[in-house]
């Protein structure tokens, strides 16, 4: 059984994001910083009449925060709030079947927290991630 996935690059890696988590894909304009918020929060941005919280994906993964220009983002709705999860680029939308991890594979650092499976794309294994786990302040919720 295949679900629709969005193939994106985050922190230099290719990942698959379940399309049911994706509200839309946008180009983020100006980001207003939120002083004193965690470094995962890049700031706030306006998306039509909504305010979205821009998530620095690298920081959320525990990697050094990216200082590149913020451009594309995947909008996801978590508990009534809209978040824009920054991505390096978007590659594809296609149906894939989710596979379990190969036994014995231990993922590094932040990736372990967000991973929810593996999809196979043109013979390459691509990590499927859960956007919700990238959102700070949501860790307790499953």
């Amino acid at each position: 059984m295949a679900d629709l996935f969005l193939i994106a690059r985050i922190a230099g890696r290719t990942v698959a994001i379940g399309s049911n988590q994706v509200d839309s894909v946008v180009d983020i304009g100006e980001v207003i910083p939120v002083p004193r918020a965690g470094h995962e929060v890049r700031g706030l941005a306006a998306l039509r009449s909504r305010v979205v919280t821009v998530i620095d994906t690298c920081a959320a993964l525990g990697l050094p925060p990216s200082d590149g220009p913020t451009a594309r983002a995947v909008i996801t709705l978590v508990d009534g709030h809209h978040y824009a999860v920054l991505v390096d680029s978007l590659e594809d939308v296609a149906p894939f079947a989710t596979l379990p991890f190969a036994s014995g594979v231990a993922l590094d650092g932040g990736w372990a927290r967000v991973a929810c499976g593996v999809v196979e794309r043109d013979g390459d294994a691509v990590l499927a991630i859960d956007l919700r786990s990238l959102i700070p302040g949501q860790l307790a919720a499953e």
Binding site: E30, I32, P33, V34, P35, R36, A37, G38, E40, V41, L44, A45, A46, R48, S49, R50, V51, T53, V78, D79, H81, Y83, I135, P136, G137, Q138
Partner: protein, 783 residues
């Protein structure tokens, strides 16, 4: 009142519609507790509203039904078919009356006694059953046309967000068009669009918001009526009626508030006799206050009644069965208080028409929690109960002040800002307490918080220029902001958890600029800056501010006759008086001022013979000074301001008119030497009268004397009384010639007559000169 009635009708109608399903199910299964509770709540609410809208028939019906249902709830009655029918007949009847009220037609009230009688135990078989009674009574009036539409808030939400989109699209369009040379016709079309959009936005905004006054305006009457019914007097104070709240919230708050206030008047505030016995004022006090705190609206209902008797509450609940007393006593204090919210609990033994079964409180809590609010109790047994209802601000539109810090904009709720002041001069300055800067705003010392550094925007502590005086629960503080940009009405939405976790923000918003903005939580900022407001601090606050030291340091800044600015210590000055220049003469070797008949020696900075410099001016001012013995004046050109002498006074080399020099706003200003002026100027021989002599008015013409003579006497330097005071010796008594029994025997008497001519013992009462002369002679003799 009409509005309230309309709302009551609409609400009851709506509840009835929703209830019809419940009623059918209750009929099918009378033991269904949930249905029973729903119907019970309905009649209880109707009862509450009726009492307050003065609808006695509805009140009677609903009270009767409530009684029966309460008996069912407590297990005293079994809900048999007859009872169910009777209750349903009453519910139907309520519906009919509501329709009749709406249309404005009269509805025959025959049969209502039967309906109520049908509720009685065992009535089912012996009397007419409820449904038959209903048939007797029913006349089926036509339903009135509805004059208002009830909209779901969801729809309003969508309208609102559509509106915001429209505003942003308009802004975008305007920006694009500005970049190009545009056709004036397009420009005017855009202008029209802008106007329409702005108007539309106002309207849409208004559809959601309402002043809480809409909720509060009915309270005074309600409290008065409720109190009157119970034979109590209650003084109601309402605060914060202009807080704006979501319309839906207001509607949801109405019932809980009515319940709570009725409970407070009925249960909380004691009868007058009991209050006096407890050492309280006979009149009960009830305070209803609304305020906005962070992202919540808090409505506080505080009474000074007997509070909740927790022990009694526990005994009652234990007696009703479910839990043992020991179990209940083991609860925490707050959990014990919360028992008041258990269904079916009351602290009162008898049931009144006002309130009674404690039913209010579980309904109240259910209603408030439904809108995402919470309710908190603060109980002081014997002293009163404060109930605080917190409801979220979500989607409220609040009036904000937009401030800038380090180039970024933030909104602060206008309600929490007392004022915005500029650091300038002495009135508003920043003092250092050790290494801690504090704001001194017109002698009010306030903790100073720098917005930039609290937000971590930059490390260096800048020189504060603009201070927003912010009040939070417990106290006030000064928030140093970079700039104050604007005031704006904003729709505040809750911020995501990651942002709220900072504790500094109350929400986020998207203003017209299209750049998201954060609403600051002033209480959170105070906490982040480490400010601590104790309760004691609040009480002390205004008292501590009065610094007795100040008086000595305050001085009057004025322009002297030679055009130089000088100061004189305020403590030595009695008053500053403008006088006409011709009242000043150079006589008997001195400048002197005529004040009525008195002559006051004057000092000036000028040489004594420079009188022409004074007379040339149309008007001068005189600083009147007195040392208790003599009185002098100092002539100045014009008073400027009252200033604080905060810098040292450098003494002059020799004692003279000028005692020294001090710095005021960086300017050298001479300080007058009062001591020297007195020594040089005061008349050595002249004594000021320590106390003006006291005249007692007495006798048959007291009224005339008080009206006519008193002003004359007082203008001439006497004090006047109309009844003798044993502590104050009377210098002279004024009476009519024929008055005999006079108070204050021993004091000389001046007698007056009504006729122009008469003997030498009395004086014609309109002969002012003779009267004053006689009085002065008598007083002189007495002294």
């Amino acid at each position: 009142m009409d509005d309230l009635l309309q709302e009551f009708i609409a609400e009851t109608r709506e509840t009835l519609e929703a209830l019809s399903g419940e009623i059918v199910m209750w009929e099918a299964d009378p033991s269904d507790r949930q249905r029973l509770d729903a119907i019970f709540r309905f009649v209880h609410t109707v009862k509450g509203s009726c009492g307050f809208l003065d609808l006695p028939r509805l009140s009677r019906l609903s009270h009767a039904a409530e009684d029966v249902l309460a008996a069912v709830r407590s297990g005293d009655r079994i809900p048999d078919t007859a009872l169910v029918n009777a209750v349903l007949a009453i519910v139907d009847r309520i519906g009919e009356i509501i329709e009749a009220i709406d249309v404005g037609t009269a509805l025959d009230d025959s049969g209502e006694d039967l309906l109520i009688a049908a509720l009685a135990e065992g009535a089912g078989q012996s009397t007419i059953s409820g449904s038959e009674a209903l048939n007797v009574a029913s006349t089926q009036p036509g339903r009135g046309a509805t004059r208002s539409v009830r909209l779901s808030v969801d729809l309003l939400d969508r309208m609102m967000s559509g509106m915001s989109d429209m505003v942003l699209a308009r802004n975008e369009l305007a920006r694009r068009l500005r970049d190009e040379a545009i056709d004036p016709t397009i420009e005017s079309a855009l202008e029209r669009l802008s106007l329409t959009v702005a108007e539309m936005r106002d309207t849409v905004t208004r559809t959601r918001m309402q002043k809480i006054d809409a909720l509060f305006s009915a309270l005074p009457r309600m409290v008065r009526d409720t109190a009157a019914e119970l034979g109590k007097t209650v003084a109601l104070t309402i605060e914060g009626a202009d807080v704006e709240l979501d319309r839906e919230m207001i509607e949801m708050m109405r019932d809980p508030l009515v319940h709570i206030i009725r409970n407070a008047v009925d249960h909380g505030i004691e009868a007058a006799a009991e209050r006096i016995a407890a050492g309280k004022c006979e009149t009960g006090r009830l305070v209803v206050a609304a305020r906005q705190s962070g992202n919540q609206i808090i409505i506080e209902i505080a009474d000074d009644g007997r509070g909740i008797d927790v022990d009694r509450l526990i005994r009652k609940i234990a007696a009703s069965g479910d839990r043992s007393e020991a179990q209940l006593r083991a609860l925490s204090e707050s959990a014990k208080l919360d028992l008041i919210f258990e269904p079916g609990v009351t602290t009162k033994s008898e049931v009144t028409a006002i309130s009674g079964r404690g039913v209010g409180m579980d309904v109240v809590r259910a209603n408030i929690e439904q809108i995402g609010g919470r309710i908190a109790l603060s109980n002081a047994p014997g002293k009163g109960l404060t109930i605080a209802i917190h409801v979220p601000l979500t989607l409220s539109i609040i009036s904000t002040i937009v401030v800038g810090a380090h180039g970024q904009r933030f909104a602060i709720s206008r309600q929490s800002i007392e004022e915005i002041v500029t650091v300038r001069g002495d009135a508003v300055r920043v003092d250092m307490l050790g290494d801690t800067p504090i704001a001194n705003v017109r002698d009010r010392r306030l903790p100073l918080v720098f917005l930039c550094s609290t937000l971590g925007l930059n490390g260096a502590m800048p020189q504060p220029e603009l201070l927003a005086i912010v009040s939070v629960a417990g106290g006030s503080y000064a928030l140093a902001v970079g700039e104050v940009l604007d005031t704006e009405e904003l729709v505040i939405k809750p911020a995501p958890p990651a942002v709220m976790a900072t504790g500094l923000y109350a929400g986020q918003t998207l203003p017209d600029s299209g750049r998201p903005m954060l609403l600051l939580d002033c209480a959170g900022i105070a906490a982040a800056a480490g400010l601590q407001f104790g309760r004691a601090a609040v009480v002390d606050d205004p008292v501590v501010e009065v610094a007795p030291v100040k008086a000595a340091d305050s001085a009057l800044l004025f322009v002297d006759l030679d055009g130089v600015r000088r100061v004189a210590r305020l403590a030595a000055i009695d008053r500053v008086e403008p006088v006409p220049a011709h009242a000043i003469r150079f006589s008997a070797g001195k400048l002197r001022l005529s004040v009525g008949d008195a002559i006051v020696p004057l000092a000036t900075v000028l040489a004594d013979d420079a009188i022409h410099q004074i007379v040339e001016r149309p008007e001068v001012s005189v600083l009147r000074m007195a040392d208790g013995r003599s009185e002098i004046g100092y002539v100045i050109a014009e008073a400027i301001d009252i200033v604080t002498l905060e810098h040292e006074v450098m003494p002059a080399d020799e004692p003279a008119l000028v005692a020294g020099v001090t710095s005021i706003d960086g300017d050298q200003v001479e300080v007058l030497d009062m001591h020297w002026i007195f020594s040089a100027c005061a008349d050595p021989g002249k004594h000021m009268r320590a106390e003006p002599p006291l005249c007692l008015l007495a006798g048959a013409e007291l009224g005339w004397m008080d009206a006519f003579l008193r002003p004359v006497l007082e203008a001439s330097g006497y004090r006047v009384v109309t009844s003798p005071d044993p502590d104050q010796p009377v210098a002279a008594v004024l009476a009519m010639a024929e008055d005999h029994a006079l108070p204050a025997a021993g004091a000389p008497v001046v007698r007056l007559r009504r006729e122009v001519s008469g003997d030498g013992d009395s004086i014609y009462r309109y002969d002012r000169a003779a009267l004053l002369e006689a009085l002065s002679a008598r007083c002189a003799r007495a002294v």
